[in-house]
Amino acid sequence: MLKSTYKPAAAAPPLPAGWTEHTAPTGKFRPTFVFRRHLYYYNATSQQSTYTRPVETQPSSFSQRPSPGQHGYAGDFEHGAQPHPLQGFMTGNASGGHRAFQGGRNEYRRTEPVDRPKTKHLIPGCPQWLLVKTKLGRRFVYNPEKGESLWKFPLEVMKGVVEYDRLEREKKTRIERDGSNKDEDAEITAAAEELRSAEMEVPGASLPPPIASAPTNNEDDSDEYEEVEVTDDEDEGNLSKRKKTEEDLENQPVEFNEDDIAYQLVAMGQDYGLDPGEYGDDGGAELEEGAEGLTLTQEDSSALFKDMLNDYNVNPYTTWETLIEAGQIVEDGRYTVLPNMRSRKEVWGEWSRQRIQQLKEQREREFKKDPKIPYLAFLQKNATPKLYWPEFRRKYKKEPEMRDSKLQDKEREKMYRDYISRLKLPESTLKSDLAVLLKFLPIHVLNRSSSLENLPPAILSDIRYVSLKPSTRDPLIEAYVSELPPAPTNIDGSPEEYEVRLRQRQERERRERALTARQLRVEEEKRKQRGVLHHSKGLLREGEQELERAKTVGKEGLLGYIESDNAPESPTR
């Protein structure tokens, strides 16, 4: 939809006496453009200057504008004293941002339509010139180096623009043929980035408005814009339409059209620090259609809806009905990107499913904490011997520690009673108990490198740890920890590995013990055998000695044998 800011000046009544008309030097101090030449009126007698055309009757209170002599504020006046919508949006906080923005924008639109640049394009063949399209669908060329902008295209630029138009038409048909073309979009956004950086280099010249070619009378200045429009067939078609809108513009209420939505999207994207394309609406090919309005694809709108759900931190476990009843999202502009309730509900289902999966994964990755630890910390903070357990429970039933479903009420009560009974014990007992607790922790759990902030859960979840006051407990633990040897390096980290290693060592010890036992037994055997051998050897030796003795003949001679033979002779017989 094309609109012109042209006001029919012919309808203006003649100036009253004493007033003179002047042209204001507009746009010098503003980054955005205003395409209207600013006329102001000066009364020499009353030293008064105003932007509104004075008539014989008293001008309305609204029309009282400050003096155009204060050039520094010229930017604000052009918006009918409304702050710049984008500025208000940027400074406002993120949550309230869009609503405030919407309101501001609508109001602003109601007062007077103002054209502003919308997209920048590289012109093929003319690297130093940029083609800028405005929100109302007009085009001009801009030279960032020289800071020059012209409605009338120079001849060499004109060729480039014609070429650009041809490319544009081709692309459009291609997009229609095979859906969106991602590469093209990326290219264009890259180009836009480049332009932005170029703009940074020339700070003063950040897109000044084209200098209107100094027309002397009001009547033809707007029509001149039409004249310098590139003779493009689609522009020609729009000309008559534009003429019609000019007349209607003054008395018509301004509706919130697709253009505005697109504009708002871009602004929101900037506010969130997103690149175009990141928030679903790719600023490239679709924005270029400009005046025709942009079309959101199905994916875009559902992605937008999901973004909205993300932004409001909606609980994915709630029901759709409660979400709607809460009404938070209904007021958001992105709620309406989906046409009907059924599609919204579908997208909601999809989103909540994804979100729940995400949450699940996140939770799995998180370290599982012992529920006892927060509860014990809570006890230490709040429990006193003055309260019985039911009283204590009643008093703190709203606290998350008391409602944690991982811990049973029975256990909670038991811990409370234990804690209270331990509070009554003398401090020396508590200290010795803590020392016992610390002593029995293995070296890989508690060593010199462990600090008070990250004590192992084995300590934190023990009642002996919490029953001492922190003021006495912490120095004790610190002193104990400083005496400990450093963390064993071979046992690195996980207790499972430690377990395995421990088991292996035990196995080995057992084997060695078995070996020594066996050796002992073998030794015994050997000794026994040696004994037996020794014994038998002795026996043999004895026999030999006997034989020897027998062989030796004494002084008795054979007599000795005879006497001895007498006795064995009789049995042989």
Binding site: P316, Y317, T319, G349, S352, R353, I356, L407, D409, K410
Partner: protein, 148 residues
């Protein structure tokens, strides 16, 4: 005598109950309100409608969490069914073709009606007359055929 299960010796619910606890509490509150609401000016059969509606919504919630969003575990789903947070027999019907949106079990109980037919709310909108508004007697359903 069976052991008395109080809050003191109750087993904790399965993992994931904390996530849906708030929504279930909301349903419980709604149900309490519906139970305590005045019956003034209501027809005799209308009194039970909100009760049916809320229990249907709650069953649907649990059903979707388990079968469509896969947000809760089997253990939790069984625990919810066991503890009466959802109607298992109604969910059993929803799994069957043609009964995907069934409002309540009474509406498909043909033997309880005079002509051995299902409730009016089971009739597809296409087969009803133009602009015929229906609210079934048993649960106030305005149409629960799968094709609607």
């Amino acid at each position: 005598m069976p052991p008395v299960r109080s809050a003191r010796n109750r087993k904790p619910p399965p993992d994931g109950f904390d996530d849906i606890e708030d929504t279930l509490l909301e349903f419980a509150n709604k149900m309490k309100d519906a139970e305590n609401a005045s019956h003034e000016g209501k027809k005799r059969h209308e009194v039970m409608w909100p009760i049916f509606q809320i229990s249907h919504q709650r069953s649907r919630y649990v059903y979707e969490l388990y079968y469509e969003k896969e947000a809760i575990s089997k253990q939790l789903y069984d625990w919810l069914l066991k503890n009466g947070y959802a109607d298992a027999s109604l969910i059993a019907k929803w799994k069957k073709q043609g009964y995907e949106k069934l409002c309540c079990l009474r509406c498909v109980q043909t033997k309880e009606t005079n002509f051995n037919a299902t409730c009016i709310c089971r009739v597809p909108k296409a087969q009803l007359k133009e602009d015929q508004m229906i609210e079934c007697v048993s649960c106030g359903c305005r149409g629960c055929s799968s094709s609607d």
